[in-house]
Symmetry: C2
Subunit: 214 residues, 2 copies
């Protein structure tokens, strides 16, 4: 095989193929050899030249996906036909089951069994993620759609609840219990005037979380 | 020195001396050599025979303290002159600044920089700690002092907020911001009929948390 002058093309092929295989047969069940076999023209060594491990490929898929989601978000943020609360709800719709983004979250959960990866994510959910949502919550205070007096606190708690506490991977629950938890989160967020969870959002959350199990 | 026939006596002497030194000059500033010097009649090797490291001594102090607190708790739980909510508040008073328990929490925070220790604790705060409080919350549903419909959810969120989100070591804040956070937690818990935070408890929380900084 000729030496590849465009490593980013090879990397993208590896990522795309790995994603297909992860989706088809599950992340745990997929081996680097499966990726080699599917690609056909790359050796195991060539793959390891680009990615240190299967985890590194998944990690890249997750971060690529994060960037795509950020791009979607910035498009929604620019919309002038929605108030801030409607914008947040529209962004939540982007994470619906059936979408690649959702499947990736579900698939990458076992990565969180690694203490360092978990802490990295807990830090992200606790600080960086709230910082990304804060401008939108403040916009909602301005346009009246999120009349809270606790923007900083609300975004932090929202992220902590939706990234950790509502996730059955961390808190194993029955569907009925999950429904109660979403209801409970809705009541608490309503109490600080963050009326994110209407019936549609509750339904969406139920669908989204009920498959993110251990 | 004669060979010690009662290792638990030696261990307790090491623990007591270490605790004194940690309190006097801070955990970080205290070395095993300091403990040797203060004890006078034990070698460094003798200390390492009982404890693998300075962290192990602190870890033991923390778990001894946990047991003492559990004993206090069980005494409060048996009281017949308090309703469940008053019992929980009485237990919160046991953690007031100035008490050994409180100083130990504050001192042991840097241990949480270790990913494995953090995860162990996050698991404790998420699952075991709520399980300990749940019977008391259910008692409050019976006696009318905690008229919530979300006992499981409430104990989990209460523990998550009070063990993690309200702790300035994890979320650095000004005293003014800390006051707002306590107010925000109070409003949200009130919304699910867990009226834990009255003015006294808010004041107590402010005192307790304002010193648990990084």
């Amino acid at each position: 095989m000729a030496r590849n002058a465009h490593p980013e093309v090879t990397e993208q092929r590896i990522i795309d193929t790995a994603r297909d295989l992860f989706m088809e047969q599950g992340y745990e069940q997929t081996t680097i050899q499966d990726i080699v076999d599917r690609l056909g023209d790359l050796s195991k060594g060539a793959i390891y030249h680009h990615f240190a491990s299967k985890e590194a490929i998944l990690d890249r898929l997750v971060s690529d996906n994060m960037h795509m989601l950020d791009k979607w978000r910035s498009i929604v943020i620019e919309r002038t036909d929605l108030n801030a609360l409607e914008k947040i709800r529209e962004m939540c719709r982007l994470s619906t089951p059936g979408q690649d983004h959702y499947d990736l979250i579900r698939m990458s959960m076992p990565l969180l069994d690694d203490p360092n990866y978990f802490i990295e994510n807990m830090h992200f959910w606790s600080h960086e993620l709230p910082a990304r949502w804060l401008p939108l919550v403040k916009e909602g205070m301005q346009d009246g759609s999120i009349p809270t007096e606790y923007p900083q606190e609300a975004t932090e708690i929202l992220c902590l609840l939706t990234s950790y506490w509502l996730v059955p991977y961390f808190f194993p629950v029955t569907p009925e219990q999950l429904k109660r938890r979403i209801e409970c989160a809705a009541i608490m967020l309503n109490a600080i005037n963050v009326p994110l969870f209407d019936d549609e959002m509750k339904e969406l959350a139920l669908k989204l979380y009920s498959n993110i199990t251990r």
